[in-house]
Symmetry: C2
Subunit: 202 residues, 2 copies
């Protein structure tokens, strides 16, 4: 299975280039387990989900700690039939095939409860797209059931769900949404926006 | 059918608040045909596709004309089974039900060729998610066939397709991807990033 993400970091500052270049050093501990390619719109990171989300967390927290209003957009995908398998993507932590929805929800909640905190509060919103299924809304509603008791849930919005909390559990919530819902070896995409230091935040 | 988008505008400048507030006035001519709600992460605009995409184009072009590196993220959705029908969303320009894929591709290409230009060059990348279908990749490959001859195609990337050109045809390409592929009355989502004035652009 191929898994990865296109990510873009946006510091709302005249010094956005410097903030991005400094934050990218937070990816260094993860680089051996990722394949990384950059162009003028986004950076592709390819690797297993349990590396992708902590790497994205560390990148975003490094930028947010400047105190500047920063956002990051992530398009994450796994199991796309148009992408070749890649050995770098083999996940180290998988559920047994055909694990029932309620067990997947319980497993995901436990992982979020156990997540390490970072000291950085963030907001996030995301949409889950389980593709190639006739019953995709069942998986989406299952994911929403997980989110509502995750401890990071803030509100439901049109087309997405909004989270708020420490970056540790919030990124763990995103990781578990990505891996626990939709067909287990199937095609799932996630459209994520994270935000820190917004002057509009409540 | 419900249709709309969550949009977020990111000017990479210390004056991002001023640039956003100025750019928002570009939505004024469209407001009578849209429902608009804002929080600290995004602004929801609800309305028919032929209003949504020109309104987003005008908002982004207004920000890009400052010369500042600006990006915008859009999560667009139509036909979500979890959203109620809304009279404000009734489209004015629809294809006949069951229009064959090749005819939809031809119709979309003609619309892009006829799009008005704005004088503002932008880059864009997006992912199309036709939901609730077992054959979702057929619709995605059909969309890619449209894109490659659209005049706005730049390159295929992992998980998305990258466009470049004048904002007029680029936003028309996005609008046609949104309305022409996936089940015609079904659930389709689009994950879009647009960018202008990037120092990394070729």
């Amino acid at each position: 299975m191929f898994s990865g993400a296109q990510i873009s970091l946006y510091p709302m500052s005249d010094d956005y280039v410097g903030i991005i270049l400094d934050a990218i050093t937070a990816l260094d501990p993860w680089r051996a387990n990722l394949r990384i390619e950059t162009d003028d719109i986004s950076t592709l990171i390819v690797g297993p989900p349990e590396i992708l989300f902590p790497a994205m967390r560390d990148l975003f927290v490094a930028a947010a700690r400047t105190g500047v209003h920063c956002t990051m957009h992530v398009t994450a995908s796994r199991g796309c039939p148009g992408e070749p398998d890649d050995p770098i993507c083999v996940p180290g932590d998988t559920l047994a095939p055909d694990t029932p929805l309620q067990d997947r929800i319980a497993h995901a909640r436990t992982a979020v409860a156990d997540a390490q905190t970072t000291g950085q509060t963030i907001a996030a919103q995301f949409s889950l797209y389980p593709l190639g299924l006739g019953h995709h809304m069942d998986e989406i509603y299952g994911c929403i059931e997980f989110l509502k008791a995750s401890g990071t849930f803030e509100t439901s919005k049109n087309f997405c769900t909004k989270l708020r909390g420490d970056a540790g559990p919030v990124f763990e919530t995103l990781s578990r949404a990505f891996t626990s819902f939709g067909a287990q070896a199937g095609h799932v995409a996630l459209d994520v926006t994270v935000s820190a230091n917004s002057p509009s935040a409540v």
